[in-house]
Symmetry: C2
Subunit: 119 residues, 2 copies
Amino acid sequence: MDRIPILKMGEHLLVTIQVDMHDQIALNLQDDLTNQIAKYKAKAVLIDISALEIVDSFIGRMISNIAGLSRILDAQTVVVGMRPAVAITLVELGLTLDGVRTALNVEKGLDILRTALKR
Amino acid sequence: MDRIPILKMGEHLLVTIQVDMHDQIALNLQDDLTNQIAKYKAKAVLIDISALEIVDSFIGRMISNIAGLSRILDAQTVVVGMRPAVAITLVELGLTLDGVRTALNVEKGLDILRTALKR
């Protein structure tokens, strides 16, 4: 399996990252996401990383890239379910995920989007 | 990673199966699901299998098991995103997934649940 499924839920797209990312999966994900944002006119992308116990600079950069791509396509990015250890690693790596909103879980992420998109 | 994340969304739990299942992952998933159904009083479990290109009798049985467990705990199970090839294999294996509802994608699955839970 070299594609991560993207679930369409109303105006949002939900991606759950469970597998170890490598180059091809990451590229496919960016490709699929941009296509689906355009196709469904999605307003937001939720990325659930609760399954990730560790991250490296590769994943951090990938999340930043996705956020950048989404922003250009007029969609917000919310990263949900980050574990404390992952947050520590990201900050230690100097990746502050600028422009990415975060929430503790999917429900809170959806709440953020509901408020943000109402404006 | 030997656990599949379970996302709580309102009254539903959402599971996206992306990795090759083996015994321990399947057992952990059943364990986690039953615990979370009880903890959150969830009314339904959505299992997205759009990432699965092939299934075997093991996965088929696991889905049946999850449906059985959920039913006992008063929650419905909806399997979403099944590929045509997977459907063919399941029928050929003689697994008709009794008691499991299916939908073509998560949105349609949520629609089914919305109607079913209103009654």
